[in-house]
């Protein structure tokens, strides 16, 4: 109960901040959207071997949904650094609340914005010719959106709990994020990759997230749905706990 109140108020604060900075709302979907338009329109009608979907655009949409959430998660980490820089982190850290509640609160708001942004991407994609799935398929997609969000917000928070400067955080995140993204099969089928690279792809949680999204949105995927879900749920759990531990032991100043 106590934890829920704390999660709620942290979530509410982030939501207010999000709604009050329109540039953030627009900026966060720009890159995935541009990628979707550029690649989707360019390659949209070309069938690519091994991609299990009617056309490249449908294949790309779940990838871009995953990418949106990936960036959103990292951004949540960045917001911790801003809170540190602008002092508000001290207000949070000096409060008598379990650190796990602080981490879950952040993840809750990160997931909410992530799901909103990703849904916007999916909706815009329909104008380019993407066919929306059934309601059940969409709900399943939301489940995967949330899981991906938890994983990458968690990773962002773990780094943010120990880092103080924004530039350094940005650098490390880019260094981490791009491999996660390119290995995940967001742009091209994982099965087309050389075997040694594919090994890395299967170690990338985003691969399972995006394959899960494909299963939900397209009804077809390279990884069985149950496996995708299990891996994502396990990674998400681990990262929540890891995040809580890092916050428990971090110094707020």
């Amino acid at each position: 109960m106590r934890i829920l109140v704390v999660v709620y108020i942290l979530w509410l604060r982030d939501m207010k901040r999000f709604m009050r900075s329109p540039s953030r709302v627009v900026g966060s979907v720009t890159l995935p959207l541009l990628t979707l338009v550029a690649l989707g329109a360019g390659f949209g009608r070309i069938p690519i071997p091994g991609m299990n979907s009617p056309n490249y655009l449908s294949f790309l949409v779940p990838g871009m949904v995953g990418m949106t959430i990936l960036f959103g998660g990292v951004f949540s980490g960045m917001s911790v650094l801003w809170d540190r820089q602008y002092g508000f982190l001290k207000e949070i850290m000096v409060a008598p609340v379990p650190r796990v509640a602080i981490v879950i609160g952040r993840i809750a708001s990160g997931s909410t914005t992530g799901v909103i942004q990703a849904t916007v991407i999916a909706l815009i994609a329909t104008f380019l010719g993407f066919a929306l799935p059934s309601l059940a398929g969409f709900m399943l997609a939301v489940v995967f959106m949330v899981l991906i969000s938890v994983i990458f917000t968690g990773i962002g928070l773990v780094f943010a709990s120990r880092m103080k400067d924004e530039q350094g955080f940005g650098l490390i995140m880019n260094f981490l994020i791009l491999p996660f993204l390119f290995l995940s099969g967001a742009f091209a089928p994982v099965n087309n990759l050389p075997a040694w690279i594919r090994a890395f792809s299967y170690a990338d949680p985003l691969t399972y997230g995006i394959e899960g999204l494909r299963a939900a949105l397209l009804g077809t995927s390279a990884v069985p749905l149950a496996l995708s879900f299990t891996v994502c749920a396990a990674c998400a759990t681990v990262l929540v706990l890891l995040g809580a531990w890092f916050f428990e032991t971090s110094e707020a100043v």
Binding site: V6, R17, Y86, E91, V94, A95
Partner: protein, 332 residues
Amino acid sequence: MSLIAVRTKNLTKRFKRSVAVDGISFDVNEGEVFGFLGPNGAGKTTTINMLSTLIAPSLGSAEIMGYDIIKKRNEVRRSIGVVFQDPALDGRLTGRENLEFHAHMYGMPARERTSRIAEVLALVELEDKASARVETYSGGMKRRLEIARGLMHRPKVLFLDEPTIGLDAQTRRHIWTYVKKLNDETGITMLLTTHYMEEADALSHRILIIDSGRIVALDTPAALKDVLGGDVIELGTAGDTAAFVDAMRSAGWVKNVAAGADHVRLTLEKAETHVAPVVQAAVDHGVSLSTVSIRKPSLDDVFIHFTGKTIREGGDGPAEAKAARRGQGRRG
């Protein structure tokens, strides 16, 4: 016998290259306003950060209301309110929203929340501004909002870290009034850090002087001034003062002589009756005087007495740089 609100034993914080707080031990009684006086970088904020559980001590221990700051962190957090040196407000939220956030974080029930927010807003006279975003507040208003927030959950001990730094003189007086009123009316224990002498003097029941992480003195303001043993005659001087200083040291009625590049400071009782002989002696020893002033000893003199240097007021210490940054308020 009064109860102990804060007790530290050999509290120490080492950073990579420096020792910020070097084994300090002191007790703060319940209901006391305890002043923590020292120059920038003396270890005041580091001490507050340790006592408020934000950073862990390297060595030693401390208790707040009987709770150990390492083993009972949540109980400590519940017992304290903190007004940080740099504002810890969310500029994108309104004043009221900042307080609501705080109330939720401290688990206040819904009914109490509303009434208490109204109460603390009234206390710091911010009712009119409660619905404006904090990024539009002035520095003084932000401070007052933070004091209100620090009091919301009725803490037993309130930490005020440099509560008036970067504020104009009028706002500073205002904050002093709040602090005094609070302590008088609620009996809340306060630990206040400052590098302003007159602030420590005006507010504190007892003052701890800290320099380079060590305690150099701890007593009531009056007792600290008594240590100096009387009034001060300060002479603005030009020329070689060595012979004059020797003469003054050998004069039986001068208790203490401190000489600087362009001044000599004498401590003695009944200063007004000794001005003439002092001036005569200066003339006799070829020292030309630009100014002569008599005053009751200030904490400045106390500080010099204990540390051998003047406190660095103003200037470009790190705290000042932060205050300047706060003024720009990029994101609030």
